[in-house]
């Protein structure tokens, strides 16, 4: 118990002093996860909206698959991306294995299905309410998807955050495709895993605090945005 409180104290000191090593790791983590979320949004949200408002063969199957992919194990994603990007793999010539780019790709693959499945749900529910009115005004199904995405923008904030939370907190995929190289591909989660096994609890705990804080702060911010917007826009 004593060593834990001691470690926690040292961890807080690291955070307060803005230890340069710690800051680098936090910034790299944010850069990678935010890039992955951006890619996930660009692909996942329109995909979800398109599935919500269109009827086509195999739609149910696609929805089941997307929902299933929300539980995609991150180590499996890591392994597949690793095989694709490894020197002998089909994309080996890109030479990006063990770089932050590979980590962005892995996280984007991990969260895109989540963003698509959740936005499909939200847009689909709204579509029930809007369908007659939009069709009456002459909106096409193709045009309805972006209209609904924009109209539901405040609800989608929560979905995007869920995606960010998953990306920022996963460890398996970035560990495999990034390699946890000090100063290059070492992010918060991989550092926590490594330092814990090495016994350097202060750094691990300090990063844990920061990771928790970032996720909590983002969620609180999103909550406030959503509440304010809903009061203003109804």
């Amino acid at each position: 118990m004593n060593s834990v409180t001691e470690a926690a104290g040292q961890a807080l000191a690291l955070v307060v002093a803005a230890d340069p090593k710690l800051v680098d790791i936090v910034l790299l983590s944010l850069r990678i996860s935010l890039s992955a979320v951006s890619i996930g949004c660009v692909i996942g949200l329109p995909l979800g909206a398109a599935i919500a408002v269109n009827e086509f063969r195999g739609r149910r199957m696609l929805i089941v698959i997307l929902n299933g992919l929300m539980g995609l194990p991150s180590v499996v994603v890591g392994l597949v991306v690793y095989l694709l990007l490894s020197r002998a793999g089909p994309l080996g010539s890109w030479g990006i294995l063990f770089t932050p780019t590979a980590m962005v790709i892995a996280q984007a693959i991990l969260i895109t299905p989540t963003l698509a499945a959740l936005s499909r749900q939200v847009v689909g529910d709204a579509w029930q309410e809007y369908r007659e009115q939009l069709r009456s005004l002459g909106e096409s199904r193709l045009g309805a998807a972006p209209t609904l995405l924009w109209d539901l923008r405040f609800s989608l904030v929560t979905i995007v955050l869920a995606g960010f939370g998953r990306a920022a907190s996963e460890v398996g995929a970035v560990m495999i495709v990034g390699g946890n190289i000090d100063g290059v591909t070492r992010v918060m989660t991989t550092t926590i895993a490594l330092e814990t096994s090495k016994g350097d609890l202060p750094l691990a705990l300090g990063l844990g605090f920061i990771l928790l804080f970032i996720v909590l702060a983002l969620n609180a911010g999103a909550y406030v945005v959503k509440e304010t917007a809903q009061r203003r826009y109804g």
Partner: protein
């Protein structure tokens, strides 16, 4: 450039709409001409709203034919519009809701703002043009739905109990706008439960009962001397004044 042919008359030929084994609209044949304000009356479950949606193209008949004199071009701007019991407004400003409809109608970007403002003025909402549409009062929201319609200058306007959830003051405002739209040349086809409203707005009444068109008559005559026993019963049970 020649003006396009009128949408009207609208002809229904033995139109049937079934859901499962239930016939909601049961063989309606009729013709709607430009001009008179048509009010559709009938008890709950008579098929009034479904008939309106069939005419507007939101539902397809399971049998029979619905034919416009000069149909709308698929994918082109709509020449008919509909106002629902509860308007669906987008999370944008009141003005934004109208310009959105104008965009769908193919109105060039530069003209949308002025036309939308003009429509808001027509329904008395120019003062709240910048307010978010969804926080307006119920009556204002329905007037905004009418402004959205007005901006489009439809040839035909279907209304599905547009004042069902409004208080008398707001109802009066809505009725004024409907009359003004009619005066501007739009054919009005309205479903209502309110006999007073049918009296005020209707030139002719279509009376539906169990999916069938039982009676069609000028409003005055229908409300005073209904010809069918179903209509007589309906009027007796519902007579609010």
């Amino acid at each position: 450039m020649r003006a396009p042919l009128s949408l009207l008359p609208l002809c229904l030929d033995n139109v049937v709409f079934e859901v499962g084994q239930r016939r909601i609209v049961d063989g309606i044949s009729m013709r709607l001409d430009a001009g008179p304000r048509t009010v559709i009356l009938g008890p709950n479950g008579a098929g009034k709203s479904v008939l309106l949606r069939l005419c507007h193209g939101l539902l397809l008949p399971t049998a029979g034919r619905i034919a416009w004199n000069s149909p709308e071009v698929a994918g082109g701007p709509r020449r008919q519009a509909m106002v629902f019991q509860r308007p669906v407004l987008l999370r944008r400003s009141a003005l934004g809701n109208v310009t959105y409809a104008l965009k769908l109608a193919g109105v060039p970007f530069g003209q949308r703002g002025a036309r939308a403002l003009e429509a808001l003025r027509k329904v008395g909402l120019e003062g709240v043009a910048g307010r978010p549409a969804r926080v307006l009062s119920g009556g204002e929201q329905q007037r905004l739905a009418l402004a959205r319609v007005w901006a489009l200058h439809p040839e035909v306007l279907f209304l599905d109990e547009p004042t069902a959830s409004l208080d008398p003051g707001a109802t009066h405002e809505i009725e004024k706008v409907i009359l003004a739209l009619h005066a501007a040349g739009t054919k009005i086809v309205m479903v209502t439960h309110n006999l007073g409203q049918a009296h005020r707005l209707g030139d002719e009444i279509l009376f539906l009962h169990q999916g069938r068109l039982v009676e069609r008559a000028p409003a005055d005559r229908f409300l005073k001397h209904p010809a069918s026993s179903e209509a007589a019963k309906f009027l007796e049970g519902e007579l609010p004044w």
